[in-house]
Subunit: 307 residues, 2 copies
């Protein structure tokens, strides 16, 4: 078992070529930039990675390319939760075999209103079929998108059944009371709670959480890492406020993923980063200009991103 | 191009073995029973088929097994819409190559609140990449589950861009006004509107629609087909009322899919049909008993299902 990941993780955006095929070269470059500028880990194939617009084969190939080209598997937490049980098993087994630090698992998200018993069976089947002690499974709670929640009762049951394997959660509910409840209930049992946005990072650390896994870390890993490293310092609130300012500018766009890609495209001077795979749509020219000018006015920068 | 499907189509439930692997033998048997007892076509791999709990490879293998074992491809309309564009392309191309009458495509359903432009690009990419004149694409509108709608504006745009390919829609909104609006707007242009439940079948036929694609047809194909064949007869209302009675009993259960499987298991005297794949859960013993006794009290039967 590798060291548990803590700190700031980025759900890395996936670059596409004009024909919507994934671009491993840009992907590796961005991953390395993130690790060099504040990310302690990479939650590749998250929501913001457009991972749910990729096939299982595309994800596995990209993950292999990352590892082959020098991104340490010990810093990777790929998303492996699919709507099909068999896909989740396949992706999870593959990630463990590559030596990944953990996997971040969505619940099966097509069928709505399913009982906790069904979700328990899903995760349980994945753990039993992968059958590898190295597996560190992080649950992914993102009800606004998945529409299928990971409840406290489900966590309790999974943690009790698989204490060495069920390692933590990413809470993207946007509801601080829920994050706090997860930490209060499970952190003492070695269950690592990550906030789903940097805006909750300071509160998460003060409450006993492990860090954050956040879209914003794609472009502001250094700013968010300062909050993580400085959370016990006198500057903690000021550092959080600085990180928040950038987050709010990104969030002011209609859609976070193209906003992140626009930001990278601009600061890396690499317009091909704009491309998003359907059903997403890139920002309009007007939105792009406004986003970039707002970021610059806020003093934002991405040191060294220009490759 | 094969003949357009009309009438009653069943989104065929997928039988699983105790280890949750698909059971092709039971699947073929049930498909043949449905075609012999009132279904004009089979919308395999629909919502009620637990298709979104199957990997792309599992679906393709099952489809090949159906065709190899004598289920005519000209009566098949497999579901091929996935959250990943590349999966949708692969499944659609495979179905067309096998000679299927059409495909029923969900929009990509993970990302919510996506613009029509992104959905247009998704369907457009599938059509262009499959690049086969035989493709008959039916759009699948099921907002209660997919949470991503197929709007009238999107249909208009797709039908105008791909008039020989965009063939129709299954409307599972449960909103008759929407079904009526789809028929009124597009039926004259050769766009076939199927209701997503048999309770709307008579209204659909009277308005100029093509039939229904409905979960209930898994167990009551003969009863629903009577409505289809008799919609212009003096008995139309009575036939619709009879079909509705069965539908309401099935729908009274917490979850339709295990209710359908329980019904088949009972009437075919084949308890292994109960199995559902996670995240679904089978009915409780009490619910099963109540469902079966309600069906029997209503005079329900499934002639010849006992294999």
């Amino acid at each position: 078992m590798t060291q548990r990941l803590r700190g700031v993780l980025s759900p890395v955006v996936t670059p596409f070529r004009p024909d919507y095929s994934p671009d491993p070269q840009r992907f590796v470059r961005h991953c390395k930039w993130l690790l060099a500028h504040g990310c302690s880990g990479l939650a590749v194939f998250g929501t913001n990675s457009e991972a749910n617009s990729l096939s299982a084969d595309e994800r596995m190939l990209l993950l292999e390319q990352l590892v082959e080209r020098g991104v340490p598997a010990s810093q990777l937490m790929p998303g492996t939760g699919c709507s099909a049980l068999t896909d989740s098993v396949r992706l999870t087994a593959h990630a463990v075999k590559l030596g990944c630090a953990g996997v971040l698992m969505l619940p099966p998200f097509y069928y709505k209103g399913v009982p906790d018993e069904g979700l328990f069976r899903n995760f349980s089947e994945v753990i039993q079929r992968v059958a590898d002690d190295r597996l560190q499974l992080y649950l992914y709670h993102i009800p606004p998108v998945a529409q299928v929640p990971i409840t406290l009762a489900l966590i309790e049951r999974l943690l009790t059944s698989y204490p060495g394997t069920v390692a933590g959660v990413k809470d993207s509910s946007g509801d601080w009371a829920n994050t706090q409840a997860m930490i209060d209930a499970f952190a003492k049992r070695g269950f690592d709670v990550f906030a789903g946005s940097e805006v909750f990072l300071l509160r998460t650390m003060r409450a006993g959480g492990a860090g954050c896994i956040t879209a914003g870390a794609n472009v502001n890993p250094h700013g968010i890492d300062k909050v993580y490293r400085g959370w016990q310092s006198p500057e903690a609130e000021a550092l959080q406020a600085s990180a928040d300012k950038i987050r709010h500018i990104l969030q002011s766009q209609v859609s976070m993923i193209p906003a992140l890609k626009t930001t990278i495209a601009h600061f890396a001077d690499d317009r091909d980063w704009q491309t998003v795979r359907p059903p997403l749509v890139e920002l309009t020219l007007e939105s792009r200009a406004m986003l970039v000018s707002d970021l610059i006015a806020a003093g934002f920068d991405t040191p060294g991103i220009k490759g």
